[in-house]
């Protein structure tokens, strides 16, 4: 698993929730109202199952989930993968 594959999976998951819309990877999904609280819990479950990690209390930070890039960065950090600068 690498950063690119993580980003692809994250983008696919977000796209599915947004009815196949292509979303810029830097767009703040929550601030723009594109997603709601239901998505928030589904995202947690997706990240946990897809990448075999646990999202915990200390991970609750909007910066970890607000965009496709943020999700990718969060997963890479949890998996100790190097991310592109």
């Amino acid at each position: 698993m690498n950063e690119e594959s993580i980003m692809t999976k994250a983008a696919d998951f977000v796209s599915q929730y947004l009815n196949n819309a292509e979303v810029d990877h830097d767009v703040d999904l929550f601030a723009t109202g594109m997603v709601n609280s239901l998505f928030a819990m589904q995202l947690v479950l997706f990240v946990e199952k897809e990448f075999a990690l646990s999202v915990d209390n200390e991970d609750l930070d909007l910066d970890n989930f607000k965009s496709i890039n943020a999700i990718t960065g969060f997963v890479c950090k949890k998996l100790d993968l190097t991310t592109a600068a």
Binding site: F13, Q16, Y17, N19, N20, S37, L38, A40, M41, Q42, L43, V44, L45, F46, E48, K49, N57, L60, D61, L62
Partner: protein, 392 residues
Amino acid sequence: MDIELNVAQQQAQSGFRDFVEAMVVPHANEHDRLQKMPEKLIRQVAEQGYLGGIVPAQYGGAGMDAVTWGLLCEEIGRGSASLLSLFTVHGMVIQALLKWGTDAQRQHWLPRLATGEVIGAFGLTEPNIGSDASNIETTATLEQGEWCLRGQKRWISFGQVATLFLIFAQVDGKSTAFLVERSSAGFSTEAITGMLGFRSAMLADIHLNECRIPEANLVGRIGFGFSHVAGAALDHGRYCVAWGCLGLAQAGLDASLAYTGTRKQFGVFLKGHELIQELVADMITQIRAARMLCYRAAFLKQQGDPSLIMETSIAKYFTSRVAVKVSTDAVQIHGANGCSDSYPVSRYLRDAKIMEIIEGSNQMQQIIIAKYGYQDHIMSQRRLRQQGSKSE
């Protein structure tokens, strides 16, 4: 998806049934009449380890798998929907702590919740806020190292007797979750009676008059109260309600099968009349379908699959409608007897109606289920196009 119960699940189910038959069914109508759940029954439930069903063994709980917990909720729901609501709300507090509590919160509260030393309740709904749950009006401010809560909660199941409440409030406009003990300064409850259903669910209003709690009682993070803490809790609540409705519907069917085998009209047992058979056939079929949805939700819950949230919503929506339909027909089958509190079916109907409203009304479920359907459709169309491209 394997839908056969394993040996352990069968044995557990048998134990649940025996308990409900002995301890719950004989008294549920009386509890409903008196609008009270006896402390003695709550203790008996706790002593069986049922309140700690979903608490992992490391915290002193039974660590039940999703199917076994569902079977327990079904049997409890079959005996008393009011008692089921204790399992629901107590479990919601447990689930919130399991997922988003700090280690200290889990270590302190989960063992006590597992044994029933502490009874949990869920405080989200307010006099002015129901479905619009992200816009609650209760506030929390940090003052001199303590959270100070101001507001009111309504329709809180087991609010009359719970000792630990998961309360949601706005911190500078951001939804946040807190643990509030009954003994907290500024905390009080007021019993609610006269409900259509769930009459022995010990409902209460909660008054938070500058209620002060320790800073460490925040659950999760500021701004993540509704989306994540309530999200995890409500998903569990819907799961309990789905299985409980299955039990409630089964109770209506069982009562109808028994009644139609003992009462005669026009010289024939009721079960010999075809229009009665029609009603019974529909009951059986709908309950079968409801059971499959509950099993599917259990399977996905066990897998931690992201679709478990939506499939649980679907299960809750369908089974609550089945519970209403089956209990309505059960009353019809019983005739005037069905309108008397000497028979349980009128209680089933009143309680079933409540199930369509709680844990997210069925209208809210319809909105999110429809959206889910469109998402799923688009993704399946995309997969078909991708498969078509590969084969060319």
